[in-house]
């Protein structure tokens, strides 16, 4: 029996905002416990929430980045359950009318669907000791975006690619720093298996506690075979929550917080619905950054780069930006690209983008040779100086003055009768020896291309 896995991911992303979702407490992490709190995020008696406009904007932006439909009317709901990390013992979230619906994340070869994105408040953090637990409410109330995927993934690789792509998109969008180690991006998996060809899904198991994207892959690489093996032994898979233990390399059944949650959702009376107008949507669209994939395609079409080269350049946003500044107005973007890729992280070096453009122009105009260009580049890299200055200071400018060159050519022809004879006899390679002579006579400054042409012409005419 062949089985296939069906995987869906629930990703929680902490939004990069200055303040929390409902109050002015700062969202920066790393502070002493309970120092970024106020009556509102502590759920004190009598407090009320006021929605952070930037959190709403960033959620809509995220939806646009992955092709979601933005709900023009969106509302807030209370999700009721008791837990020590919950200041109010209800979480303000979105139930039936979230900010974003649909959407997809593109990975190599396929699109992985997204069901919805909604905005909610994060919960506090607990620390566990021998017989007690301690709660730090600094994190409580941080704006949290929940992205629910369709169950489109079929392998741990799919999941890995989805998370990598999603993270890149959100970072590019300035929505979040997505650092999983800091808890800015958290992921739960829902995974089931079914016989290949069966339409119905198998029982899904929820996996929690993966602390990195590769951890998600490892967890799935364990869980999928575990389920298949269990079914193979005639066992049933039950809907349950399991905890991934990265050290042990296994999932274990969790003792759940309570049996089936009854969240008793109802509309949040303290918060007003959000409506998004055409004008607002257009304004947010204007603020959309170009995503890596789109940029890659554009570099290929706009600058004539190879897919490979474009791929290298877009790997880092700053590098791509450096290249585009260097290539702006240059007739030879490919050459510019080659120089950009000549050393790693050139955008962090002293080299200025426009200097690369100038370097390519100097070589293409024959002012210096390609070989000389490499020397100039080395100085540019070390000093940050522009090529014009370096060429001048080192007196590298090739001699291209026809009069001078004609003179050197005549001299070479006159002094190398053997090579001349060889050339006339059909040995084209003998020309190179004559070019070498002219280079010696000109102290290496002659433009070898022009010299070659000139010699050939002179020899034809004699």
């Amino acid at each position: 029996m062949n089985y296939e896995a069906v995987i869906g991911l629930e990703v929680h992303v902490q939004l990069r905002t200055n303040s929390k979702l409902f109050c002015g407490c700062a969202t920066e992490s790393g502070a002493e416990p309970n120092t970024r709190v106020c009556p509102i995020c502590l759920g004190y008696p009598g407090v009320l929430p006021v929605m952070n406009a930037e959190a709403v904007r960033k959620t809509i932006l995220s939806g646009l980045l992955i092709g979601c439909t933005i709900n023009r009317y969106s509302k807030w709901d209370r999700k009721n359950y008791f837990y020590p990390d919950m200041p109010k013992n209800y979480q303000v979230s979105q139930y039936d009318l979230p900010l974003c619906l649909g959407g997809a994340v593109q990975i190599a070869g396929k699109k992985l669907g997204v069901t919805r994105i909604h905005l909610e408040e994060d919960v506090a953090k607990s620390f566990h000791f021998a017989t007690t637990s301690g709660v730090d409410f600094n994190r409580a109330g941080t704006p949290l975006m929940e992205i629910v995927s369709e169950p489109d993934m079929r392998s741990s690789e799919d999941a890995f690619a989805y998370l990598t792509a999603l993270k890149e998109i959100l970072i590019t969008g300035g929505v979040s720093d997505c650092d999983m180690e800091k808890g800015q991006l958290r992921c739960d998996c829902n995974v089931s298996v079914r016989p290949v060809g069966q339409a119905q899904f198998g029982e899904k198991v929820e996996i929690k506690n993966m602390n990195s994207i590769s951890g998600v892959r490892r967890a799935l690489d364990y869980e999928i075979p575990r389920q298949i093996a269990a079914l193979g032994r005639g066992e049933k898979i039950f809907q349950e929550t399991r905890r991934w233990d990265d050290d042990a390399g296994k999932t274990f059944v969790m003792r759940t917080k309570e049996y089936a949650h009854d969240y008793r959702y109802f509309p949040e009376p303290d918060l007003m619905p959000v409506t998004v107008s055409d004008a607002q949507l257009a304004e947010i669209r204007q603020q959309l950054p170009e995503l890596p994939e789109a940029k890659r395609q554009r570099l290929v079409s706009q600058y004539g780069l190879s897919e490979y080269d474009a791929g290298v350049l877009v790997a880092t946003a700053a590098l791509a930006q450096f290249f585009e500044r260097a290539a702006a107005g240059s007739p030879n973007a490919k050459a510019v690209a080659n120089w950009v890729m000549a050393v790693a992280e050139i955008h962090l070096s002293p080299v200025q983008p426009q200097h690369l453009r100038e370097l390519v122009a100097a070589i293409d105009a024959g002012q210096i040779s390609g070989k000389q260009g490499k020397d100039v580049f080395a100085v540019m890299l070390a000093t940050g100086q522009g090529p014009a200055r370096i060429i001048q200071e080192k007196g590298l400018a090739q001699v291209s003055d026809p009069g001078a060159l004609e003179g050197f050519c005549s001299q070479a022809i006159a002094g190398n009768a053997k090579s001349v004879a060889a050339f006339k006899a059909g040995n084209l390679g003998a020309l190179n020896a004559l070019v070498g002579q002219v280079m010696k006579l000109s102290k290496g400054k002659a433009n070898p291309q022009l010299v070659s042409e000139m010699l050939a012409k002179q020899l034809r005419n004699t």
């Binding site: 009556p39 502590l42 759920g43 004190y44 008696p45 009598g46 407090v47 009320l48 929430p49 006021v50 929605m51 209370r78 009721n80 008791f82 020590p84 200041p87 109010k88 013992n89 209800y90 637990s133 709660v135 409410f137 009854d262 008793r264 959702y265 109802f266 009376p269 303290d270 918060l271 007003m272």
Partner: protein
């Protein structure tokens, strides 16, 4: 002199003319509290030194603020920084407020002396103040009877002259009903007019803070201080606040008074009915036109209220779990700690409502109870909208009976809920409502209240009608023989 029996406006004039000091006024009220509160039990907390210090500061400072030097009592449901805030509940025993409610900041800015904290039904759930964990407050007109609820302490304090005015809260009638039963003026503002930030929430879509005063003019003044948009309250309406005192004496000529036929029910106390009908006749003598109107869904209001209010309350009270504040009963684990803390900390009425509200929201019942109630609520709102096309103000009794005896209804929650039958719809629709004295029963002499109901933000009209009636009648001059 009897400063403590005077009104805000009377005292304010004397204070401004320098005829009396703020300290004298506060001292007079404190003396009165000392004299009668062991019988009335309106106050849960009082710090005389703190009150006098505020009065002294007022004497040293500005005299032009609207409430400069006026001692005002605060229902124990509003946060006042540094003061206990128990909402009449054991579960908040020992809790100290760490911030000021917005209305408190407004009172301070207006120069008021924050007097003390008054008794209430636990978490504002009740109609008699018998549900307080700290004992029941007595009606100044008959110490064997309830003062109403949930703001019974504030009402008794004003009626018993233990405060010049007070703040209360109204979710289903908790200002208007006690005002009616104790012969003061009680006003529930339009939902969204007064900030709820710092008001411990009972039912978020129904709660409002409002004034208890001795006269309509005082109510207009106090409303003007606490009304206004608050950026800390998302449900607070960003509209400018009118001058409530401006057209107060414009009279009722040309106004149409609506009489809802569904509000004059069999089983209503005959004296209450008689007093209210007499009041209506008085209003017509003053020039108002009476129009019969219908509020067809009246019969469903109590049912709607007891599903919506309890559902919202079940969520609002979930935060009382012994983790961050309040009293805790330690259990073997987290679950037990929650359950024991809440089981021990909440009184029976609160538990009853949490259970009903939780049930109404729970899986399988949400649509049939909570959702259906919200739909019928829309119909009740429409009833009022349609009625207000035919009239400017609706007139009705505030309560079906005068104050009943302490203990008379505690064992019958449903009977208790029906006390609110005339006031509840106003909260459901979000409209404004006011109760003012319109007479007394014969034997014993118990106050009867007249309710005026207005469309959203029609407080100026409400106050104008109330003022005309009050000034043409003697009720506001009566005092309990305490």
């Amino acid at each position: 002199m009897s400063l403590h029996t005077q009104t805000i406006i009377e005292l304010r004039d004397q204070l401004r003319r320098g005829e009396v000091s703020a300290r004298e006024v506060t001292q007079a009220v404190l003396d009165r509290i000392q004299a009668v509160d062991d019988r009335l039990k309106a106050y849960l907390w009082l710090n005389p030194d703190d009150a006098l210090a505020q009065a002294d500061a007022s004497d040293r400072g500005r005299k032009d603020q609207p409430l400069a030097g006026i001692p005002i009592a605060i229902k124990d449901v509003l946060n006042v920084i540094g003061q206990p805030c128990t909402c009449g509940s054991k579960i908040l025993h020992g809790h100290t407020a760490v911030y000021d409610a917005t209305v408190i900041r407004q009172l301070r800015a207006a120069g008021a002396v924050l007097l003390g904290r008054t008794n209430m039904d636990e978490f504002a759930m009740g109609s008699s103040t018998e549900n307080s964990s700290w004992g029941v407050t007595r009606n100044p007109w008959d110490l064997e009877r309830i003062p109403g609820g949930s703001s019974g302490g504030s009402a008794a304090a004003v009626a018993g002259h233990e405060a010049i005015a007070a703040l209360g809260s109204d979710t289903g009638g908790s200002i208007r009903q006690p005002a009616a039963l104790t012969s003061c003026v009680g006003l529930k503002p339009t939902y969204g007019l007064v900030s709820r930030f710092g008001l411990v929430a009972f039912a978020s879509s129904l709660d409002q803070v409002g004034p208890f005063t001795k006269t309509v003019a005082d109510a207009a003044l106090l409303l003007g201080v606490i009304a206004g948009h608050d950026p800390l309250d998302s449900t607070s309406v960003p509209a400018p606040v009118p001058d409530y005192q401006e057209k107060l004496n414009a009279g009722v000529r040309g106004l149409r008074i609506g009489l809802p036929k569904e509000y004059f029910i069999p089983g209503m106390d005959r004296e209450v009915e008689a007093a209210v009908r007499a009041a209506i006749r008085q209003l017509t003598h003053l020039g108002a036109e009476v129009v019969e109107i219908s509020l067809p869904h009246t019969d469903y209001a109590v049912a709607v209220y007891y599903l919506i209010a309890t559902a919202e309350a079940s969520a609002n009270l979930a935060r009382f779990d012994g983790v961050r504040y309040g009293a805790r009963v330690r259990g073997a684990d987290v679950l037990e700690t929650y359950a024991k803390t809440r089981g021990a900390g909440f009184g029976p009425e609160v538990k009853r409502r949490i259970i009903l509200g939780t049930y109404a929201l729970s899986a399988g019942y949400h649509d049939a109870y909570y959702l259906r109630a919200q739909k019928v609520r829309t119909l009740i709102r429409r009833d009022f909208e349609q009625a207000f096309q035919k009239c400017d103000v609706i007139v009705a009794p505030t309560t079906p009976t005068p104050a009943f005896k302490i203990g008379e209804r505690v064992d019958d929650p449903l009977q208790m809920y029906l006390c609110d039958i005339f006031t509840i719809s106003v909260n459901l629709a979000g409209n404004c409502g006011l109760s003012l004295p319109c007479g007394f029963t014969a034997q014993p002499k118990l106050p009867i209240g007249l309710q005026l109901i207005g469309p959203a933000f029609a407080e100026p009209t409400l106050l104008r009608v109330a003022q005309a009636y009050e000034q043409a009648t003697p009720w506001h001059t009566e005092r309990p023989a305490l």
